[in-house]
Amino acid sequence: MKARSSRTHARHVEPTRLSAWDMVDEAMAAILARPTRAALTVLGTLLGVAAFVAVLGLTATAAGQISARFTALAATEVLVEDAAEDPQTAGEPFPADTENRLTALNGVERAGVFWEPRVPGGRESALVSARPPSLTREQGEPLPLRAASPGYLRTIHAKVHTGRLFDSFHHDRKLRVAVLGKAAAHRLGITWLGGQPAVFIGSTPVTVIGIVEDVARQPETLLSVIVPAATARELWGAPGVDEQPKVLIETRLGAAQLIASQAALAIRPDQPDRFKVTAPPDPRTLRDAVDNDLKRLFLALAGICLVIGAVGIANTTLVAVLERTAEIGLRRSLGARARHIALQFLSESAVLGALGGLIGTSLGVAGVVAVAVSKDWTPILDPVTVLPAPFAGALTGLLAGLYPAWRASRIEPVEALRH
């Protein structure tokens, strides 16, 4: 019997334990026992996590807003203007085959040349009327004229109301035809094209072959009388500097920057420098600018908040350990092992951190939504940033609790019970 002695006995004493559920229960009970202190402790973590979520959410929302402003149409528009130093000697900017030169580029969908022709003979001779000037007493309408290559109408996505658009047939034959914008047609009183109505530009008659209902770009064309570029050139001469000839290009989505860098060379390989090319701002660079400046600052502030929160939790937990020395002694006498004591304080600080994380995340999300609603924006919250936020709080609490928990586990039961 004696040979079996104490080793056998030792195995007969079942070790004490602390289940995870009990551990969390104890942590919650300890926190709820001092709710005010817990609330103040949580505040630091709460602010830190809320700041994190708000910063990430607001930058995402703002970036989303910037992207939204760049509709697909705006992002695919490139405008080429003549900016020759000496236009008089430089000659005509755009060769006749400009359209073909551009559409040959990979990434260009449509392109067209346009300008506002000046009718020789002053303002009177440019008035537009539905009747021959000789027959009418009242003056014509001062409608803007627009000379355009057929590609231009396609580039602005002109939608036909009645009739048709002019195409290369009309253009190449320099036919005297015109397409009216909806508003222009209304001003001239033309609604029906069955009788092949003509309008008089000054004294020059042109046949109206179509009325444009709507356009996606350059809405001013709705008030214009649009004639084929070649016709305009024959009637009123090549475009001068003050007539501002331009090329409008529609690119494929995402190709605008590339085309902008190639267009000038494609149009005039001999004089690429004479053009001023306007491309839409790259949404990415714009977003990055917003991101980098503000986000970094705010994230740094949020990080500082988290550190302060962690220090707060560490401090409170350490004070709690010293205050609750007698409780630690009691628990040791009830069978708690040193690691159970450490786990208890660790779980308390982790729960405090998680509470701060949860409330902070909620406040951060609420803040982002509130700002977005007040500005009529679409709130954008990336789950990748929102979902881990409460865990970041818990992790902060856990790290903050390491030292106090270690201290608590080192307290000798004899010492603790002396209190």
Binding site: H9, L330, R331, S333, G335, P413
Partner: protein, 255 residues
Amino acid sequence: MTVHEEAATPEETAASTPVIDFSGVRRTYPGPPPVAALKPADLVIGRGDYVTVVGPSGSGKSTFLNVAGLLDRPTGGVYRLDGIDTASLGERDRTALRGRRIGFVFQAFHLLSHRTAIENVMLSLLYTGTPRRRRRRLAMETLEQVGLVGRAHALAGQLSGGERQRVAIARALVNRPSLLLCDEPTGNLDTGTAQTVLALIDELHTAGFTVLVVTHDPGVAARGQRAVAIRDGILSESDPADLAMRVLQTGGDRT
């Protein structure tokens, strides 16, 4: 040395196995100069005994209590609790033995004031692996045993001193320990309340619990079946009847 029966749980431990078996147990605090707080002591406390250890402050009472309660390790000798040689145990097993076999009753109660009476009793079952559902029932049964069922859901901070000590006793009892170890159980109570608590301890002894009370008060010590005096770290058997006489002569000395 007696031959010990194998011990698994307190219930299975044979009645003949002493609960406490000190043989040459001593505790010396390292110096300089080293202090022999407990001189080599032999003491056997059998199952169902009611033993008191009495001595003035500084006599080595606390050292004896800490060693007996497995809160402190003796520097020499063999201490068997329920027949288990505690010297060979690691910290984990000592803690387990402490939690399962010893019920502590402290002078300062050591209740968690923001928890209810029943929650304080249930705390004792937290580390023993008792299923959660059983804890409340066991705690309530034990509160019934100490006559506090009506106050089960009162916060410990709102209980009177006597009630607090009875909750503490219930907490010590709920694990059905081999040994009820009371450290000055009436030290923070007035005389009337102290009597009710002592009466409760008497009852528990009658019910079969092994009770060890450490006190400086001969009046408390006189209630034991056996009284052990401690002075300058030396234990010596004394007669409870003598102590009772001394109490009568000095009029209930509570120095």
